[in-house]
Symmetry: C2
Subunit: 498 residues, 2 copies
């Protein structure tokens, strides 16, 4: 998930100066409303990388909110008192009453991460600890608590620079602890741990919000606004059931001007016809060899192709299947579910199409329809598509555990390119069938689809289940990137398998 927090989002000095007074008024207002209504309590968890600005952001919150009704709890090594009780005791005893906001710095996440890093927890124990945390958080949100979890992230390079700068400044040297130095040294081990933690504790009732920590003004405004929005949205909303609390979908929605994973793509990348031809030939040969190896070693492959209409999914798939044995693969185009499928869980139709050992399934559109078209068109209720992120993570985790290679592509084109391709399809007789009324309707919701794609990538990218975003304005470039990605992933899987 973390790559979506390395986009270089920032806020200018001038804008910050203008926004802060408005935000402060808003924050004080909602804090006061919350206190008067005493409907629920709010817990703000601030966690993430060292030197990503966690402490400073909390200080700013104390400045902006009424500090008499705001409490911050930081937790270090358990005290003697604490170590005599179950570890959860120290969190339970300081839970805020209804009407109040508490900030937990680090909180229950810090200790699980450290224990895993030190090897005190093995993989299964780590998962179990995370499951415990999920239970705990569900108890809180079932009880009505508004739980807001912010994960601050900065790339390693910036982290290193900052720690160095702090250490050399006598006034800031205290900021750098031995633990920080250790974490920096172990950055590469820490990353997969944090990634897993973020995925497994990213429940619909208590989602994580990834905050880019590089720019001070950006992170402060973003967290402040999101906090104000979340409290305001919940106030006066008496939920009929403990189902998903009302929080803004993601931080991207807070400021649509900020770069996103999609807007950060360089769509001008392209290949000449000659480059394309020679690379295509080479990659297809490599893929063919790898596919035979994979079959011999019983490695199955599942491929997901998503993208806007006319993004070139079909064309890319054909360039892959051209290198494969026709008996070994199946291409499943996913349209609206039929009656048999509609009568069951939406994942059912994907489960049943999983390939046998050594074989391939291509999904031309996939289970991600749940959080894309079904979300945008309102075919799925909000509670349904929100919990789908977790359901999809579970599903993909089972595939990976079974050793199946899962490769997921999002083919990105811009609006102009799509218009050009639609026009072209209308001209070419054998392409006309491809273009429908619906395509034009979808086009009208371009921004909503983009927001849904951003959330999808943020919520469902894991180290083992990454999204490959493909710059697809140039078909040559896109197809080569797809082929190369598949070859690399497959080679890796084949080599690891004895």
């Amino acid at each position: 998930m973390l790559e979506t927090a390395e986009l270089g989002r920032k806020v200018g000095k001038q804008e910050y100066k203008e926004q802060v007074p408005l935000l402060r008024t808003e924050l004080l207002l909602v804090q006061n409303q919350l206190r008067n209504s005493a409907e629920f309590s709010a817990i703000v968890i601030v966690a993430g990388s060292d030197a990503a600005g966690k402490g400073r952001t909390v200080n700013v919150l104390h400045e902006w909110l009424d500090p008499r009704y705001l409490q911050t709890h930081a937790f270090d090594q358990p005290t003697e008192e604490e170590s005599e009780r179950p570890l959860a005791w120290r969190y339970w005893r300081v839970l805020p009453p209804k009407g109040r906001i508490s900030v937990f710095l680090g909180s229950w996440y810090t200790e699980v991460i450290s224990a895993r890093l030190r090897g005190e927890l093995d993989e299964a124990e780590f998962k179990q600890a995370l499951a415990h945390l999920n239970n705990f958080e569900r108890q809180l949100t079932d009880d009505g608590t508004l739980l807001l979890k912010y994960w601050f992230h900065i790339p390693r390079k910036i982290q290193k620079k900052r720690l160095k700068k702090y250490a050399s400044d006598p006034n800031q040297a205290w900021r750098v602890t031995d633990q920080d130095r250790r974490n920096l040294r172990h950055y590469d081990e820490l990353l997969p741990i944090c990634d897993q933690l973020l995925r497994e504790t990213n429940a619909p009732h208590s989602p994580w919000f990834l905050v880019e920590g590089s720019d001070r003004r950006y992170r402060e405004l973003t967290v402040g606004r999101h906090l104000a929005d979340a409290i305001r949205n919940r106030l006066g909303v008496q939920p009929a059931c403990p189902a998903p609390p009302v929080v803004p979908a993601s931080l991207s929605a807070i400021d649509p001007e900020q770069p996103t994973v999609l807007s950060s793509l360089d769509l001008t990348q392209h290949l000449t016809r000659e480059q394309y031809k020679s690379e295509l030939e080479e990659l297809q040969a490599r893929l063919n060899w790898l596919s035979r190896e994979a079959h011999r070693k019983h490695v199955s492959t599942v491929l997901v192709f998503e993208g806007a209409d006319a993004a070139g999914k079909g064309g890319a798939i054909r360039r892959v299947t051209a290198a494969l044995d026709a008996r070994r693969y199946e291409v499943i185009p996913i349209a609206a579910p039929n009656d048999e499928e509609r009568a069951r869980h939406y994942l059912w139709r994907f489960w049943r199409r999983l390939p046998r050992a050594g074989n391939w399934t291509f999904f031309d559109r996939s289970w991600y329809g749940r959080v894309l078209v079904e979300r945008v068109e309102g075919f799925a209720q909000e509670a349904e598509w929100r919990r789908a992120y977790e359901e999809i993570r579970d599903f993909e985790e089972l595939l990976c555990e079974r050793g199946i290679v899962l490769v997921k592509f999002w083919l990105q084109i811009d609006r102009d390119e799509q218009a050009k391709r639609f026009a072209e399809r209308e001209k070419v007789p054998y392409k006309q069938y491809k273009i429908t009324e619906e395509d034009y309707r979808n086009r009208g919701k371009w921004d909503q689809y983009e927001a849904a794609v951003n959330d999808m990538v943020e919520q469902t990218s894991g180290l083992q289940t990454p999204w490959t975003l493909v710059e697809a304005n140039n078909k040559h470039f896109a197809r080569i990137k797809v082929l190369r990605t598949i070859c690399d992933r497959l080679q890796d899987a084949v080599e690891r398998k004895k």
Copy 2:
């Protein structure tokens, strides 16, 4: 949980004969309604001990329901096809469509139990596997599936007898597999595994129903009736949110005439004054010694006393504290929560009173108020007290993991004894303060309280967190049983602790 399925519940021949035709009509009716409405699918899981009548019950369901719309799936060793996919594949592919009922014999539980028994899963992996099952079942129920899980249980003695009888009958010998024989040999290892499995997968959205398997007529009628009730209750109820599906609270509610854990207690047990005095002295001396050992070894103790008004909770507690060092224990009487407590999660006030290492906390009434008085009086909503069973299990599990000795008593008296004690309190001046209007009001809801207590014991008794049911009509007998139980549990904990 399993002890609540060894009560000797049975149904006479005549009653069975009268009931079956009615039940069959009812079952066919709801099955037909379900099919026409196609609102949801129903999955019936039949699991439990060998030779407990699982297969026969499923056969009877096929007789009673319209078999054209009922499918049964049994799963053995994974086939070649199955073993090439994630294990969940074989369950996903046979999920019933809306409107249909499927029976899963054994189902996903069989394989986890076997793997744990064979030692292929260690403790943490087993827990993780159970967490996966919970996720899977939650996905099904979130999607609207009515999931009914029946666990058939028979005591070891009966199991052994039955297997022997089958084996010696040429027409039935096929019923006894090698696996059955192995399981019988490992009964004592199997018991804690099943106990843990039942507790950890007993989620509010997919609770287990324990079926006594000893009497054929009882188990068939009970499962049949419960199934019909559950489907009828859900039909036409369009849940606003995926929260707890509407199912009858427990099997005890199906036939109030059957014995329960409470009704099975022999309340005539008593001790003479002399027996009492000598045992009291001896046990208090033993407890005093044990308490000093516990303090030295940092073993903490948490005691829960629940029981009807005037059941003798206070008197029993005083006989225990008399043996302890006054600096080391605290007695916490639990009444209606105060403002500070009401503003937080209901477990908060118990968390904060946990004892320091080597100390004691007595809860005179406890967190079980949530599923007793709050349930019966309607102070908690149904969704709240239903999910409380799981919250309480989580809470108590954390105590046990931390090495805290948790002893839970339910003091049971009958209505006549209570009336006698009330009258006595009114006569004795220094006891009058104890008796309030409320006591009489509670008395009017005796049956509802009994049902709540039965559910509580069934849902929250674990091997590590057992309920001790105390026959309390005779105060002497009750106090001695309480003292002896505490001594035994504490001695065990002290000896285990290095």
